[in-house]
């Protein structure tokens, strides 16, 4: 396996770990919004997927893993498109 493949596989490994071990607690800005009392102003607009989960997969781990892989695939598609246009 060459080093480029290893470098490209590393994010998939992070996503796998993220699906297993990622903290479910709110992040710092959400905590700040709760502390300062403006969290109620939050307007949720869901265009495609909601918060790194897929609605048709009920298993939390698989849902998060697939969402992450889709994110990586989107970046790969973008790379292919840029490569196509630059040629």
């Amino acid at each position: 396996m060459n080093k480029k493949t290893i470098l490209a596989l590393f994010p998939a490994l992070i996503i796998l770990s993220s699906s297993l071990f990622s903290s479910k607690y709110p992040d710092t800005l959400e905590t700040f919004a709760v502390n300062q009392g403006f969290v109620k102003q939050y307007k949720k607009i869901v265009l495609i997927f909601n918060d790194y989960t897929l609605p048709f997969i009920s298993n939390q781990f698989l849902s998060s893993l697939c969402a992450g892989i889709i994110g990586l695939a989107l970046l790969y598609i973008l790379y292919k498109m840029v490569k196509f246009f630059i040629k």
Binding site: K4, L7, I14, S18, F21, F38, Y79
Partner: protein, 222 residues
């Protein structure tokens, strides 16, 4: 650390979105220029465009590949929430990491693309607030922090990374607070301490993870 819709007033959000679109187009132009001429640029003569400090790819296609791989790293790392305090999590922003490897223009571009994908596909951060998120985390956190790094790197590499990461997160938090207070969402002076206190641990975490990632990448490229 992504601002959601509803926290900022529409005129400020739209203004930042317009401003960041201009910066994005400029960076895209610079990166496109580099991508089409990269094969003729020799390593070390590209300080202004800041191609990279790790020469693991050469040529146009491989330059685009490198941008994609770093974008993938940042996307994946931003998904990983780490438990930092009681009932609070944080994740890497990666602005300094991207800028140190790719340079300020490509770093900004990669960070912005990650935020666009997160916003459109995963509802992470508001659509109207996208400009504010790009300004806080890609422009301040990556573009400006890169120049802090450049100013110190000749004296001490690790210190440069550490300080630029601290600057990156704390200034992003500061500008986020400014935007929220300009929008009338919070009172600046009353919430300043809370905002900075919450992000201090994130800044330290960012510095440590960035140092580890850069070392890992340097090791992988040897």
């Amino acid at each position: 650390m992504h601002i959601c819709d509803g926290f900022l007033n529409n005129s400020l959000a739209m203004g930042l979105l317009a401003g960041m679109s201009v910066v994005f187009s400029y960076c895209l132009k610079r990166v496109y220029k580099v991508a089409t001429t990269v094969s003729t640029i020799t390593s070390g003569s590209n300080k202004n465009i800041g191609i990279c400090t790790f020469e693991f790819f050469n040529g146009t296609n491989e330059y685009i590949q490198k941008l994609t791989i770093i974008a993938m790293w940042i996307f994946a790392l931003q998904m990983f929430n780490i438990h930092v305090q009681s009932k609070i999590s944080a994740h890497l922003i990666g602005g300094v990491f991207a800028a140190v490897i790719l340079g300020p223009f490509a770093g900004f571009l990669v960070m912005s693309l990650v935020f666009i994908i997160q916003c459109i596909f995963f509802s992470d951060g508001g659509i109207l607030a996208l400009g504010a998120n790009i300004f806080n985390m890609a422009f301040i956190g990556s573009f400006i922090s890169y120049y802090i790094y450049k100013a110190i790197v000749n004296k001490n590499y690790h210190l440069a990374i550490f300080i630029s990461c601290l600057f990156s997160i704390l200034s992003a938090a500061f500008f986020c607070l400014v935007e929220l207070s300009v929008s009338g969402t919070v009172h600046f002076s009353a919430s300043f301490k809370n905002m900075m206190h919450l992000h201090l641990i994130v800044a330290l975490l960012e510095a440590v993870i960035t140092l580890v990632l850069l070392r890992l990448l340097k090791f992988a490229c040897k």
